[in-house]
């Protein structure tokens, strides 16, 4: 067992689970999507990205790419949130909420891809 691999897999899976936790629920209901969950998902996703940077294998490159996509989607979701609440002053209308949640849905797909790749790599190594 390799501690580095454990930490690596932990963050990748945690990024997915937190992302899923935020995403699940009615798409336009602000009550079912908490800001802390989005924040946690974003922070963990960034940490997972940093862990992937510097891996020179082909798999590492693909993992980095999916992780960057997830970061991008989550950052955009957080920016929409901040914009609608403080800049435009519309508040979390059902329309705004569904844009935020659908952005995080995109990040969820990217995170799922990451985990699938991780599983594929683990299975193919067989050690």
């Amino acid at each position: 067992m390799n501690l580095e691999k454990v930490v690596f897999a932990f963050f990748i899976v945690l990024a997915l689970t937190l992302n899923f936790g935020f995403f699940i629920g009615d798409i336009d209901d602000p009550v079912q999507h908490h800001a802390y969950e989005l924040f946690a998902a974003l922070v963990i996703s960034i940490i997972a990205t940093i862990l992937k940077v510097g891996d020179r294998s082909h798999m590492g490159a693909v993992l980095l790419a999916t992780s960057l996509v997830a970061d991008l989607q989550l950052i955009v979701a957080a920016m929409i949130w901040g914009y609608v609440v403080y800049v435009s002053g519309e508040g979390l209308t059902p329309g705004n909420m569904s844009s935020i949640v659908s952005m995080s849905g995109g990040a969820l797909v990217a995170n799922i891809t990451s985990v699938v790749l991780l599983v594929v790599e683990t299975v193919s190594v067989r050690r």
């Binding site: 800001a35 924040f39 862990l51």
Partner: protein, 586 residues
């Protein structure tokens, strides 16, 4: 390669970056959890937007104050904690980055990346020179003087520094790395399309062997020139098909033996592959008779064997007879004292070779010998190029010295470099010289006088090669393809005035499938695919290049008829000829 540097940065920066992200996350979450008060005194919780804003300017110590509302004490308590947390995280991150930049491994990675980049950008043909000692330095300087690009790899960083500050007129990329490593050779351009060959000049036979092997396997079309000291290494190189092997000690000894055996031949060599031009008439004549060789290391051994092969009687003087396994009759001593030289029989000797590996000893031997016997022929081995001024000063005045005590300086590094340059630039010339070595002094005398006839006594001959191929000599190729006969003699006329002969001497014709013709006759008919080696003056080279490229010029020197150039004039000419024939017919 640049990627590698980026990867190195990110790998090392992982921990600091994660710590930074975590400290920000903890600070932000803390601010959203701690209750505050708004301006009306109502309980208020900071949200992520304001928390991120506050932590961002606090963490970078810009400090805009407590916004949007003045903080409660609980919030200030948390602020104190987060200030130290984020500042330390930043310091750690920046400190790691700076130490990373200063780290030797990182700097090496950067210089390596720069080197690879500059090699990849090379467009003109280049040679890869492995080993930048005295020989490598001579070689690179000569190559650059003749506008040939070189790339240098040496294991010693000091020598690469030396290359960088030596202010060559061309930019020569250099890398401090082990050339025996094939990946390094690859980075240095071994498989670069413009790479013409590899020269392995390190002072380690095994490293040279590795370089040669990598060259043979990875780039089979390239020329490989290797320095090898031991007989085993030479045999090993031959076994995998590398024949351009140079032994530094043997090449020195061969030269000396050649100078004694046939001064004219030595002169021919010196003209044609010498790195530094000497006056043409400067014919050295080392006498035949008893020679004294001081120093019986690898060097002295090679001299001894070569002189014996020429039938010269040799007495050896050596300070360490046990270690060096000296021949019988050896005089023990360094040769710097008069007593030793007298024991060696300097009274009967005609020449002395100071061949120890110490330059001071060699000079001292020469001075002592001349004191004992002023007319003795003196040859000194110069080990280090930095001692050049000392050796030059004891040469005779007409050879650029002052004291006139020394007849011949032999610098192994220079000779190696000279041989490598010849092999690189003109393998055909090297073959010609090898043929010439088989001939006697009479033959060489004739050749020398023929060359002096065409060049005069002041100027130096250069050598060049004409290839009868569509690229090398298009006009000549076309004419021969038409089935017309062209003699070697035809190429030796001035294309401007055909009665005048060009100042050239044809040295050799290389004929595919038939071998080499040495000093071919004037009426030798040329054939497609021939390669002809000429010696002569640079002006003659220019005229000959015009001749083989220009059909009209060639036609003119062969037939005396000036064929017009250009479509219109050719048409006019053809019309005139037709008219002329019609008139003759009527």
């Amino acid at each position: 390669m640049f990627n590698e540097v980026i990867f190195l940065i990110f790998r090392r920066m992982r921990v600091p970056l994660i710590i930074l992200v975590l400290s920000y996350a903890i600070s932000i979450v803390g601010f959203t959890l701690i209750p505050g008060q708004d301006d009306q005194g109502n309980p208020w919780h900071m949200d992520f937007f304001h928390a991120f804003y506050f932590v961002s300017f606090m963490g970078s110590t810009i400090g805009f104050g407590e916004i949007p509302y003045p903080f409660t004490d609980a919030q200030r308590y948390w602020t104190i904690f987060t200030i130290y947390l984020t500042v330390i995280a930043w310091l750690y991150g920046i400190g790691t980055l700076i130490s990373l930049i200063q780290e030797p491994a990182f700097r090496r990675a950067i210089t390596h990346a720069r080197f690879v980049h500059s090699v990849r950008r090379l467009r003109e043909p280049f040679f890869l020179v492995c080993g930048y000692g005295d020989t490598g330095e001579h070689l690179v300087r000569v190559m650059v003087d003749r506008h040939h690009q070189a790339v240098v790899v040496d294991i010693d960083p000091q020598r690469i520094d030396h290359l960088e500050i030596s202010q060559l007129p061309m930019d020569v990329p250099g890398l401090a790395a082990d050339a025996a490593d094939p990946t390094i050779l690859d980075d240095a351009g071994l498989r670069h399309p413009a790479c013409k060959g590899v020269v392995a000049l390190t002072n380690d036979d095994s490293a040279n062997l590795h370089i040669a092997l990598a060259g043979r396997l990875l780039a089979p079309d390239e020329r490989i020139i290797v320095r090898a000291e031991s007989r085993e290494a030479v045999a090993n190189l031959h076994s995998f098909g590398i024949h351009d092997v140079i032994n530094p000690y043997d090449s020195f000894a061969e030269w000396l033996a050649m100078a004694i055996h046939s001064p004219s031949l030595y002169l021919i060599h010196d003209w044609m592959i010498g790195l530094y031009r000497r006056p043409l008439t400067d014919l050295l004549q080392p006498p035949k008779g008893l020679w004294i060789v001081c120093g019986y290391g690898r060097f002295g051994k090679a001299v001894y064997e070569n002189l014996r092969r020429e039938g010269v009687e040799v007495v050896v003087v050596d300070a360490f007879p046990d270690r060096n396994r000296v021949p019988e009759g050896t005089i023990v001593g360094r040769g710097t004292e008069a007593k030793t030289l007298q024991e060696a029989g300097i009274g009967q000797a005609v020449g002395i070779v100071a061949g120890t590996n110490d330059d001071a000893d060699n000079l001292s031997i020469i001075l002592t010998a001349r004191e004992l016997k002023p007319e003795i022929f003196t040859v000194a081995r110069q080990n280090r190029s930095r001692n050049g001024a000392l050796f030059d000063s004891v040469l005779s005045p007409e050879r650029g010295g002052r004291h006139g005590l020394l007849d011949l300086v032999m610098q192994p590094a220079e000779m190696m470099a000279q041989k490598v340059v010849a092999l690189m630039m003109s393998p055909m010339l090297v073959r010609f010289l090898a043929h010439a070595r088989q001939q006697d002094n009479e033959w060489a005398n004739v050749l020398v006088s023929r060359i002096i006839d065409v060049t005069g006594e002041e100027e130096h001959p250069i050598t060049w090669r004409i290839k009868i191929t569509p690229e090398g000599a298009p006009a000549l190729y076309e004419m021969l393809s038409e089935g017309r006969q062209v003699l070697l003699d035809d190429l030796e006329h001035d294309p401007r005035y055909r009665e005048k002969r060009l100042h050239v001497v044809p040295l050799m014709i290389e004929r595919p499938g038939e071998g080499d013709l040495i000093l071919p006759e004037m009426d030798e008919p040329l054939r497609l695919g021939d390669r002809i080696l000429f010696a002569g003056l640079p002006e003659a080279h220019g005229s000959m290049a015009l001749l083989v490229h220009n059909y009209s010029a060639l036609e003119y020197v062969i037939t005396g008829i000036e064929r017009p150039d250009g479509v219109v004039w050719r048409w006019v000419d053809a019309w005139r000829n037709r008219k002329g024939r019609e008139r003759a017919g009527t």
